[in-house]
């Protein structure tokens, strides 16, 4: 898209391991429930119905996997001299520009799956509730580096309200 060309910067991506996490989540919360339902339906009403449910589950899971891949590709962030750019989304495309001077605080969070694969999410908060600048799937070292750099830059460029 032309949008991100106008905002030039060195775009980076979340780690590939984020894909793995999303796929595991997809398997746990989508494919597995479908499988259970398919087995239950198959036992209770007959193999034909069970197969139908399983087929439906396979299609839905397939679509989810495609969507996961596309969404991973859509993620990007760029650290520029004065601001951080974050872009994301396929269905709804979003690009955020957050000036370092506007940052109130930075969060680094990691769920159980994230921790296993050594990933973390960095979130920037400004005084505006609508700001959404959050980058998932960063390797821990990169997340810490980003947090420290953002905090330092925020301190240096802090602007009053």
């Amino acid at each position: 898209m032309g949008v991100t060309d106008l905002l030039d910067g060195e775009w980076r991506r979340p780690a590939r391991a984020l894909l793995t996490i999303r796929r595991v989540e997809c398997g746990l919360f989508l494919a597995l429930p479908f499988l259970v339902v398919a087995v239950v339906v198959g036992v209770l009403t007959g193999p034909a119905q069970g197969t139908a449910v399983a087929a439906l589950g396979a299609v839905v899971t397939g679509l989810a996997l495609v969507s996961i891949r596309r969404r991973w590709h859509a993620w990007g962030y760029a650290e520029r001299d004065d601001d951080l750019l974050v872009r994301r989304g396929v269905l709804i495309r979003r690009t955020s520009v957050v000036p370092y001077g506007r940052m109130q605080y930075v969060d680094v969070t990691a769920g159980p799956l994230d921790r296993r694969l050594g990933l973390a999410r960095v979130t920037l908060h400004t005084a505006a509730a609508a700001s959404d600048a959050s980058i998932p799937g960063l390797p821990e070292a990169e997340a810490t580096r980003l947090r420290d750099r953002l905090a330092a830059l925020g301190e240096a460029r802090a602007a009053g309200l």
Binding site: L6, I92, S96, A128
Partner: protein
Amino acid sequence: MSDEGWRRLHPLTPLLRGWRFLLLVAAGLGQQSLRGDGLDRTYLGLAILGATAIALLVASVAWRRTRYRLTDTELQVDSGVLQRRSRRVPLARLQAVDVVRPLVARVLGLAELRLEVVGGGSSSEAPLSYLTEEDAQALRHRMLASTTGPTAGPAQAPADAVLVSVPTGTLVASVLLGGPLLATIVLLLLLVGAAAVQATAAVGFLVAALPVYAGVVTVAGKRVLEEYGFTVEESPQGLRLRHGLLDTRSQTIPQGRVQAIRILEPLLWRPFGWVRVEVDVAGYSGGHGEQQAATKALLPVAPRALAQALVGRVLGGPLPAAVAPVPARAAWRAPLSRRRLRAGLDHRHLVTTRGVLTTTTDVVPLAKVQSLRLTSGPWQQRLRLATVHADTAGRRLRGAQAHHRDAAEAGGLLAELTARTRVARRDSGR
């Protein structure tokens, strides 16, 4: 710690703080006595007396343990009986100072001082209640004088110039032209419809609709009470708003603290050329419902030219005209409001308009923008459209949005805004 400069709140504070509680107790006990078929009257009297004594005692101790002091850089408030609290409010963080006079306090010539600090939240609000009115006004003056610099001397007289004052007739008419008129029309239409089918149905309908109607009228009445006698004055510390019939409130908005402004023009006001102006100041937590509504308006109703002049004054300069239209294909996404969707940008402000029934104009000073965003939903992507958001701090107005612009133009606007907000931030000084 030296005791120098520490002061207490007004001695009547415990009474004023306690009376609501007492009313509750009395009401509760009264109800009990009615239901409890002639329960022992003396017992009841003793209970009330005891509760009163305890409430007064607690409030008095709280009053004795509360003190405040204004230094050059901060307001210090110590309070609390069991859990002591020592609060320091840096004056540099002060967004606004309000003098509020609830009805009962007003009768006694007392007032409450309410501070709004950066970072909002109800806990950040630091009220001083109650003070004599002179004390409250003097304190407000001193605090604002130290935030805005040496413009005001210590004994500055409040020689405020009235910029706008809203006539009561206009206020009442404008409020009636909103909810009450619409409710009446809807009710009449429904009644006629129901009566045409069956006469008795209309009566049932009326009974059912009455509470809703009463609610609408109550809301309208409340608004008139709150915004009665609305005046906007210019004081050395910034704009001062005064309004209210029963509870009068005077708010000061320090210069350069306005985060966003919204100008509303409801359909029914258009024949009169009236508009309403709302303002958002960072950290204005507003607290409880009614105050929140009261602090919103910069001007409840006024002719457009006057409102625009005032907005220009608040923001310190003329505004760019919102003229840039959206492409014709945006009608597929926003068929009703497409013609209203406009944007204007200069080096200091972004102005956008939208709205179908109520024309809404959002103005954001570029120096106050917190973040910029560009979004494009599935429909918008198909139509090559995108929306540009300029987010600001504050709870009510969330900044300005330029909806459904051509995707390439929106990208350009985002890049332009990024550059211009950077310059504006630097120019506005730290």
